[in-house]
């Protein structure tokens, strides 16, 4: 708190003299980040994500919150539809996983819908929807989001052991999944993914 107060008075000094306004803004935003619990902001556009980014995320506190667009190969495993990863050619050889190495669960896609949308297992698709956490032990219970995880985590702030237990328990009961809004079969998935990632890289601040 003492350091915060020092930073604060330092900042107000800078503003008083009307110098280095950009710098002071930067410091101010850092102060706010420290002061407020960093609840994630909902992503209102279909951000290009990788299957790997959802499936290999070890901490659900860092899971994407909001809408996403994912390119992958459709698969049917134990009566559920999954989206398998495709190779990311722009990554170095030892970082890029072979096709189909990991897969993410798709919610809301039935056989009828798949036929209606002209997609079938084995075909390459772009999937648009929302990232959720699905309870794998009780399949029909309500889904969670990264924000829900943050709020529950925050409510245990008085007890760090309980926080750790909550996160590790969640990893046993919940898996990341995509609540599907749109699905479209596509050609040349690797090329499209490479270009879409390039645009993502170009627009990240």
């Amino acid at each position: 708190m003492v350091t915060l107060a020092i930073v604060h008075s330092f900042v107000s000094h800078l503003i008083f003299y009307g110098i280095l306004e950009a710098f002071s803004k930067k410091v101010m935003s850092q102060v706010q980040v420290v002061a407020a619990p960093n609840t994630p902001e909902y992503c209102h556009s279909f951000k290009t994500l990788l299957v790997e980014e959802l499936e290999l995320q070890t901490s659900y506190l860092r899971l994407h919150y909001g809408q996403c667009a994912i390119i992958g190969r459709l698969a049917l495993k134990s009566a559920h539809f999954w989206l398998e990863n495709v190779r990311v050619r722009s990554l170095p050889e030892n970082y890029s996983l072979p096709e189909g190495a990991v897969s993410v669960l798709l919610l809301g896609l039935t056989r009828e819908k798949a036929i209606e949308q002209r997609v079938s297992t084995g075909c390459y698709c772009i999937v648009r929807g929302e990232v959720v956490l699905c309870n794998v032990l009780r399949p029909n219970s309500p889904t969670l989001t990264a924000r829900g995880v943050h709020e529950q985590f925050g409510s245990l702030a008085h007890d760090q052991i309980a926080q750790k237990q909550f996160i590790s328990k969640l990893r046993l009961t919940h898996k990341p999944a995509v609540d599907l809004w749109f699905i479209q079969s596509i050609d040349r998935p690797e090329d499209l993914l490479t270009l879409r990632l390039k645009i993502r890289g170009m627009t990240v601040r």
Binding site: H44, S45, F46, K47, T48, A69, R128, W181, F182, Q184, S185, I186, D187, R188, D191, L192, L195, R196, K198, I199, R200, M202, T203, V204, R205
Partner: protein, 211 residues
């Protein structure tokens, strides 16, 4: 007007106003030309449009920034987006929620009812001409042309899940950023060649962009 001042007075003031305005305009275009190039029909992402601001000095000129913070001045732009939903259509505009993964906004596409009427009149006329053998080959060609002309004018076939090319300009209204599209082109189906072509052009343009 008759009570307060004569006709001459009004004319005097009008002349003053016109002269002063001209001087100002001349000045601003001079400094503008020396300052930055204004681009037309540049490829942008929706995030660039959402970040754009209006130029305070010049009408219909917008300023956006690339990732390095370099300003880009432009009048019109081209975007490629996915139709995620519909807005409220009215008699003159169809509105669509478009999304390219970097942002989403509402795009208005003019319905151009006048042009549509002209084309459908021509279409009917040509179809009736096609019934006589002498005109049949050219009538068939004209029908094809008129059909594709209609595809470029009538936005009603645009469906959720399609992708669109749009050329137009940002539209700032009550603090919300949207887009007014002058032209559109529907790109649907398995082949993503058009999307990839645009993405390639977009990334190249911005990599090579310098002031």
């Amino acid at each position: 007007m008759e009570i307060n001042c004569g006709f001459d007075d009004v004319e005097d003031q009008l002349e003053n106003f016109v002269i002063r305005r001209k001087q100002q305009q001349g000045k601003s275009t001079d400094s503008a030309e020396s300052r930055a190039k204004i681009y037309e029909d540049i490829p942008l992402t929706l995030m660039h449009i959402l970040r754009a601001t209006e130029d305070s000095e010049r009408e219909h000129v917008f300023i956006t920034h690339n990732n390095n913070g370099a300003p880009i001045h432009f009048r019109t732009c081209i975007v490629y987006g996915f139709v995620a939903g519909f807005g409220t259509h009215n008699d003159y505009f169809n509105k669509y929620l478009i999304d390219d993964g970097t942002g989403s906004l509402e795009a208005s596409i003019a319905k151009k009812p006048g042009n549509r009427e002209v084309i459908s009149c021509l279409y009917n006329e040509v179809t009736s001409l096609g019934s006589s053998d002498a005109f049949k080959p050219s009538a068939e060609r004209l029908i094809r042309i008129l059909k594709s002309a209609m595809e470029c004018i009538d936005p009603s076939p645009i469906a959720r899940g399609n992708s669109l090319f749009l050329s137009g300009r940002p539209n700032m209204f009550r603090g919300k950023v949207g887009m007014d599209a002058f032209h559109f082109f529907i790109d649907s189906g398995r082949s993503r060649d058009m999307e990839m072509g645009f993405a390639d052009y977009l990334t190249d343009w911005h990599e090579n962009y310098s002031l």
